[in-house]
Symmetry: C2
Subunit: 356 residues, 2 copies
């Protein structure tokens, strides 16, 4: 796909995967499903048939940039953009768009999260080609995941008429619904999950930023001048902290005149918790996913992650998440996996920043 640049957003901290995820080792640097590779390396591998490595840009935080470069040795080091401070996705994408536009004025961006799971890569490739095609024709495009359950943790997109093969107009974006509303959405067949994947030309998204987020655009113009002057890092350090912390969803997509959506079904998961990691990991006959040396006696439905030199014995337990990292041990009921974050709040209160 000529002129197409991937922009992998790798700024997330993935607190829900504590203690495996840490400030310096966020979710995208973990192998959460026993695949043998990190999530971000899997994201890159998935792109390889469509987009060459030289046209993959990664945006991450400065604290994790080197770890990201190490995890993706085939990516040119300068393609990893390190934010001095996270300002949500609009500044992140705007910055990447500057780089893509400098390399090719007709650059089209495929903006992708670094820490999501795709179980059907061929479906992903087909969707990518459709979405990039629409973006090349000037559209602002999002991917919408065909829902398989009335999930209340995601925003939804209501689809309008088809504008091209496999491309629908977006009727509206809706916030995370309550369960009854979500059930109605799923039953209607007209709603898809907002996946956090976006496709547009660099020129178009920068034009939308200029129109809808002029303050951000002024900052981006300063950075672009810094790139031209060989002074990018200093300018980014000065400018980035003052940029508005806004998502591309709110800042650009929802205020645009028309948005396109490619509805997809390629075995997507945002892997939002240890419970999802258990769901999507290979399991034994008792429903256990053991990424560790385990002796199990009457254990069922458990996820275990531990260093190879720790022997884990489970006796008579069900539906537990057990994660040992040597310095921290989490034992959590699987259906309470969303409640790992409060542990981090307590550690902060106790001043245990070494464990965050």
């Amino acid at each position: 796909m000529d002129k197409t640049f991937a922009v992998i957003m790798a700024g997330g901290v993935g607190a829900r995967f504590w203690p495996a995820s840490r400030a310096a080792r966020p979710k995208q640097l973990l192998d959460l499903t026993g695949s043998g590779t990190t999530m971000i390396a899997a994201t890159l591998a998935r792109l390889a048939p469509e987009i060459p490595k030289e046209r993959v840009l990664v945006v991450t935080g400065r604290a994790t940039a080197d770890a990201i470069r190490d995890a993706l040795p085939s990516i040119p080091r300068e393609n990893v953009l390190a934010e001095p401070v996270g300002r949500n996705t609009a500044p992140c994408i705007g910055w990447a768009a500057l780089h893509a536009r400098r390399r090719d004025p007709d650059a089209v961006l495929a903006v992708l999260p670094s820490d999501h799971l795709v179980r059907k890569p061929e479906g992903f490739h087909a969707a990518l080609r459709k979405a990039v095609g629409a973006a090349r024709r000037g559209a602002l495009v999002t991917c919408g995941i065909t829902p398989d359950r009335p999930e209340t943790g995601f925003g939804y997109i209501e689809l309008g008429e088809e504008t091209a093969d496999g491309v629908r107009r977006v009727a509206r974006f809706v916030e995370k619904p309550d369960l009854d509303t979500a059930k109605g959405y799923v039953a209607s067949g007209r709603f898809v999950w907002n996946s956090g994947m976006f496709f547009f030309s660099a020129a178009r998204v920068l034009a939308e930023i200029a129109r809808q987020m002029p303050e951000l655009m002024r900052g981006l113009e300063a950075i672009d001048a810094g790139i031209g002057a060989g002074d990018e890092r200093a300018v980014v350090d000065r400018v980035f902290p003052k940029l508005p912390a806004q998502s591309i969803d709110y800042g650009v997509m929802e205020g645009a005149a028309e948005i396109s959506c490619v509805p997809v079904d390629f075995g997507w998961s945002d892997l939002g918790s240890w419970s999802a990691a258990h769901d999507l990991s290979p399991k034994d006959a008792d429903g256990n996913a053991f990424g560790a040396d385990v002796v199990a006696i009457d254990a069922r439905g458990c996820l275990v992650r531990a260093p190879s030199d720790l022997l884990v014995a489970l006796v008579g337990v069900e539906d537990l998440v057990v994660v040992d990292t040597g310095d921290c041990l989490l034992v959590c009921r699987k259906d309470r996996a969303q409640d790992v974050k409060p542990v981090l709040d307590i550690l902060k209160e106790r001043g245990r920043t070494d464990l965050l």
Copy 2:
């Protein structure tokens, strides 16, 4: 108590407290209830007001003898008798009796397990004085614990008439009963638990061994000659493995013409499992006993033991035993704590003797 020798039996391996207990660090060397001291040191401390350290003998296995000596630095090193191989309690007590008799022909022995809990030491002291008094008058004496529940894991003693203040004749020993039988025993008020504490003069128990266990007596006579000849260790190494592996209960007490029993109620527990350790440890308002650095979110009824440099987070879990030793982690439902032993069997099968 002149002429009274304590014999602390410290040969147990305490597999039910794996992974805290190991071959080289058995139960008696652990602090299982957060008391701040090992069980064997607590046993010794309990004796201190009644029996001087010089008259405390400890019998243990050779692999743990040095660790026992380190745990009891106030005991003369030669008072720790190291068996080359465990042969149950009759040979152990017989050997200790030889040493006591050599030091004092009128020696009276108070034979005590090293790994039981006594929560009312003053009650223990009163019982000790009564039992030693009866033993000094020539009786074979056991302590019987007044039951507070229809426990099916212990043998029971049926009590006969009183023969002295606080001393009853033993009507009979009975095996571990089923639950209905146990309920009947408790309701009758005539039954006590067999505690594994014994009191008799060295002369009397050796005479009983000579009468009832002549093969053991021949071995003990050889060892006694070895002691006299300054050649004890070599003789013990040769003789001990051939001694009959028999308990004092079966080998001596049950076959004796008359046994006395001092019924007691001094807050005794044999601490038979992690569940008992939880019962007997100090607990917070949620019923948790945390011997570790723990962050708990909706955790109830849990026992945690971990090294001080491991942060343990519990989320939404109830009635779990969580024990981390750095090389092993046990996560066990508390009411399945009896099933820790099969873990050891599996580790043996896997050749992981390093973890036993």
